[in-house]
Amino acid sequence: MKNSKLTSPEKLARLKGKLLKQRQKQRPIITVCAGTACVACGCVPLTAAFREALKENGLEDKIEIRTTGCHGFCERGPLVVLQPEGIFYQQVKPADAKSIIEQTIQNGELVEKLLYRDPQTKQVLTHEKDIPFYSKQMRLIFGMNGHMDPTSIHDYIALGGYAALARSFLEMQPEDIIEEVKKSGLRGRGGGGFLTGKKWATCRKAPGEPKYIICNADEGDPGAFMDRSLLEGNPHAVVEGMIIGAYAIGSHDGYVYVRHEYPLAVKNLNIAIEAAREFGLLGENIFSSGFDFDIKVSRGGGAFVCGESTALMASLEGKIGEPRAKYIHTVTSGLWGKPSTLNNVETWANVPMIIEKGADEYAKVGTEGSKGTKVFALTGKVNNTGLVEVPMGMTLREIVFDIGGGIIENRPFKAVQTGGPSGGCLPESALDMPVDFDTLTEIGSMMGSGGLIVMDNLTCMVDLAKYFIHFLQEESCGKCTPCREGLRQLHHMLEKVTRGEGGVEILDDIERLCMVMENASLCALGSSAPNPVMSTLKYFRNEYLAHLEEQRCPAGVCKDLITYSVIEENCTGCVVCKRACPVDAIEGEKKEVHKINSDICTRCGICLAVCKFDAIFVE
Amino acid sequence: MVKKQLFVTPGRCTACRNCEVACSFVHTVNPMVPAEPRVRAYILSETENTVNLCLQCEEAACQKVCPVEALNRNERTGAIEVDLERCIRCMMCTIACPFGNIQIDVKLNEIIKCDLCDGDPACAKFCPTLALEYAETPNPDPKPREVAPLPPVPWMLFSKPPAKK
């Protein structure tokens, strides 16, 4: 591409106009979701099949195939949306490519079996916008994903990308940008919920050069993947946000710290940065303003604690990712001891929208203290898993039941875990609470990065608390005593509970230890580590008591407290379970009712997993 | 104002060891564990005696070698002082000093050196011959003077003056 540099905002506007014209010509478009989940479900061979089918029908030049970032409805992948009509096909196999082209594209008929059927109403829905999973959302950040190829800067510009950047360079002073962000009420989406504008203002004023801009893409919370999908599906939004931030703060060096487990995100981000450089949006003299800024991408080494800002900075410096005390804030002394502004991916992606629409418009969405939308990763025992973007203040019930389509197999809802390992488990009584930063903190959880893990009656809350403590024990950096030793002991204690040992008194010991960890730990990993335990103790104390007083695991999870047996009426004597049992604990010949010898049985659960007749009973 | 300095005039020294006793006395915290003196008197020959104590060098080797900045100059007195809190007893200062004037007190596990008694050196006060004097300029013609009697120091009985080499 020769002389592609956009030396002025006018040139950008002209390019956009040109691109839009091109786009109008090229309809219709087959968009195939190529987020990681859809890739896993086979969207790559699907895309190839589409190309093949187009070729066969001589349509290569008339129809465009666009592989896009995550559409969010990962449960139903691979997803295909035919534009401009917005016809939504789900779970599309390569073999379906031909019928889609021949039936729908050429003849305008729908392929019935690929359409979405609402599990509640059994209604067949044709268009993306009609599906409750989408219709209840407000996709301000994620909306673009379905309409663009994340590796194409042209697509981004055609959809209005970098217009906010142009506006901030053309019409605004750095102070105006900060003022605008302040006014928008944007709060950090990484978990803490600190006011972004305030952070920027302090960093701008902090003495010391150079100043650094950091994008935290070390999305470590298990059960959260919105940052990954943003980087994979719309990396330019993050890049644009960072450039605006850099201009506002007066920084020339940006870093993106991406999690080790996200190779596709790294790839797409690098492509985006390269393209932005080529177009003169990164590098020296952006828009001929004399302002320089560039971004480096750094891959994490695989440590949850590096999501903590000071540990992340240590890691960027090439050191062991141990946090340090933040009595002197990182906006004053961060990376290499210099003023640094760190925001997470979603926060940066919000910035262009605020500048483009204006703070007032942006602040119309959300609640008093929490503005805008929030992307949640809705997972666990819920029908429609995936990424959902909703305005702040929507209730958990709306998210879990209306968008999420309720619990798998209509089992009873038990809890929803918000905020990852540092968050808490909320019971049914909290379902009608509006979801925003302050409410969640009030009821003993936190927003965190926005993971929502739904649990049904088959989840044991003690086991879940133990799971989180085990996770944190593995991920603790080991620097400070309360976190390192406290997690070790807390894990011991919870193991005791899952074995039904220790008596009710152990709960007091657990609470005392939690108090010490909360108050004495060095960083947020340690001080919030007790949250999963404290919140389950608060809302599900009866489950702890069942383990301790009755030696019973109500959910049938804790191995030491359950027995496996065969339901005789259901057993057909197929010997599948017998063959699968790793310890030969199942007796009975073919066509005879089997029996589980509970002395040998290790309660591994394989028989339950392999039985096709629901003949294994756990108690 | 001209600063006072600690002057040593070896020719006047009688190796009476008053300086050592005085030094040890003012630096002792626990009377059961008397401090080692920071100043040493030597009988070199029948006619030659001298004392040796820290010169508070301008570019001090001890200071250069210390890895933890535990040796700092007291700007008021000009003395290089040991910050025992910071000191990690690596002993490198004791090896590096070309004059052997920074040492370790093994009993107390403390690095010791002359600190000019915070601007009032006891050794000079108790030197009867002005071999040690704390003044702006050395007294050109000293007469032996009366010094205050030193308190009894039983431990002195057990140590002999160092033999000449």
Binding site: S476, R484, Q489 | V65, P67
Partner: protein
């Protein structure tokens, strides 16, 4: 500036930390990972104190005294019930980690703990992972030791090194600074041993007492810029020799 520690008004300089100021004023705060020779790290969490301020609208918080910078009007409580409770909890955990450490036993006793209420670590050593050894080694410039691994499996160790490729200089600073005595060394007439390596010794040219290891003296010569001739004799021999030289100088 003025601040208040346990009701006592004390003076401090900008850039100082609470612990420093408290210690200077004779207020004792226990701290295990703190040593003035190295940068504070806030690892042991024993020096927790409660702070508040007239302007903070009643907000109080626990912070580590070793790392919290002083500020005008700060109100610090170093021994109230909450502080003692948290410190006791930390000590209880440390005692479970190092049940055999006398230092921890004594400190715990001061907080009313005779025996840990937790499960003691199997095969415990005396290491409380205060990190002082690593920090002092870095400060000295050898950086021969590091924490290895993370979380509950973290240990302090030397990386596996070859004979010609060894960073430890055998200076013993780590053993000296170790508060619990976990880092040990031996020395006889010929060798000094630490971290599983034997060092030769350099002796005083005159009296023959050992003054260090060749690696140590070389390292110190390089970092101070002093010639190797500065590192040949013990202090006592130097002192005597210098005295003789001085006697012959006429002023």
């Amino acid at each position: 500036m003025q601040l208040s520690i346990d009701g006592k008004s004390v003076t401090a300089q900008t850039g100082e930390y609470i612990l420093q100021v408290a210690q200077r004023n004779g207020i004792e705060i226990p701290a295990l990972c703190h040593h003035p020779a190295v940068e504070p790290s806030g690892a042991c969490r024993l020096c927790m104190v409660e702070i508040t301020h007239a302007d903070w609208g009643g907000w109080k918080g626990l912070v580590t005294a070793c790392l919290y910078p002083v500020q005008e009007g700060l109100i610090v409580s170093t021994a109230n019930e909450k502080v003692r409770k948290v410190r006791a909890g930390v000590l209880d955990l440390l005692l479970a980690r190092c049940p055999e450490s006398e230092l921890i036993q004594n400190l715990s006793r001061q907080y009313g703990i005779e025996k840990t209420s937790f499960i003691p670590r199997p095969e415990p050593d005396l290491c409380i992972l205060c990190g002082l050894c690593v920090r002092i080694c870095e400060k000295i410039g050898a950086s021969a030791i590091s924490t290895i691994g993370r979380g509950i499996d973290k240990i302090v160790s030397v990386p596996y090194e070859t004979e010609e490729n060894y960073a430890c200089i055998g200076c013993l600073a780590c053993a000296t600074i170790c508060p619990t005595g976990e880092i040990t060394f031996t020395q006889d007439e010929q060798t000094r041993s630490i971290w599983g390596r034997n060092f030769e010794l350099v002796y005083c040219e005159d009296c023959g007492i050992a003054i260090g290891t060749p690696e140590q003296l070389k390292h110190y010569s390089e970092r101070s810029g002093l010639d190797m001739s500065y590192f040949t004799k013990c202090d006592r021999c130097r002192n005597r020799e210098a005295a003789a030289r001085f006697a012959r100088i006429t002023f």
